[in-house]
């Protein structure tokens, strides 16, 4: 069966520090991968979308970047965090032949 792992679950980082959130999927190949941010009062915002290795679409210009070094690995990064980067980040995957997305448990990021 397919599973999705996202870590860490919580993270407190100082302003200006780098960020790396990792998401991996098991039990499927060539999934579509997503990074969403769930900010208070703003719902779910799509940040990045990937249909394959090295293929990243950015939906919102921001301080973050994403990479997909392997088929089932999706990384969310920042070189220098801002206070406004605080939020709840969700990774999700979707099979190429499916229209249902499966979400990770999320990472609560607090930038202080």
């Amino acid at each position: 069966s397919q599973t999705i792992h996202q870590w860490p679950a919580t993270l407190v980082q100082p302003v200006g520090s780098p960020l790396s959130l990792e998401c991996t999927v098991e039990g499927t190949s060539n999934p579509n991968l997503y990074w969403y941010r769930q900010a208070a009062g703003r719902g779910l915002q799509l940040l990045f979308y990937s249909v394959g290795i090295g293929q990243i679409s950015s939906e919102v210009p921001q301080n973050l970047s994403a990479s997909r070094p392997q088929d089932r690995q999706f990384i969310l990064s920042s070189k220098k965090l801002l206070l406004s980067d605080s939020g709840f980040y969700l990774c999700a995957w979707e099979g190429a032949a499916s229209t249902e997305a499966f979400f990770g448990q999320g990472t609560r990021l607090t930038v202080v």
Partner: protein, 109 residues
């Protein structure tokens, strides 16, 4: 561009009352519409999709292309329905999911 709008951030009803969570969308083609739900301390998960025309946990949603709406309905709300509900749209190109802002449903005893 595709967009999903959920006009209500919070909906509070009493147990046994009917509930309707509104969702409107804009998309130039024929979209696929979904409702996702996030219960307290659980993952966001799919509740239902319009192509299945199914009823899940008593919830139904009908795609109205004329009004570009996909409202989620349940005739008799239960306390365990309290959760965050997201309407989502997947366009034809690439299946990119776009979510609405979410509606928090609170069912009071």
């Amino acid at each position: 561009a595709q967009r999903v709008t959920q006009p209500e951030k919070l909906l509070s009803v009493f147990k046994g009352a009917p509930v309707e969570l509104k969702c409107n969308y804009s998309y130039s083609g024929s979209p696929e519409l979904f409702w996702y739900v996030q219960y307290s301390r659980q993952r966001l998960q799919l509740l239902l999709r319009h192509i299945s025309r199914e009823s899940i946990k008593g919830f139904t949603a009908d795609l109205n292309k004329g009004e570009t709406s996909f409202h989620l309905k349940k005739p008799f709300a239960q306390e365990e329905d309290s959760a965050m509900y997201y309407c989502a749209l997947s366009g034809y190109a690439g299946n990119m999911l776009t979510f609405g802002g979410g509606t928090r449903l609170m069912v009071k005893p």
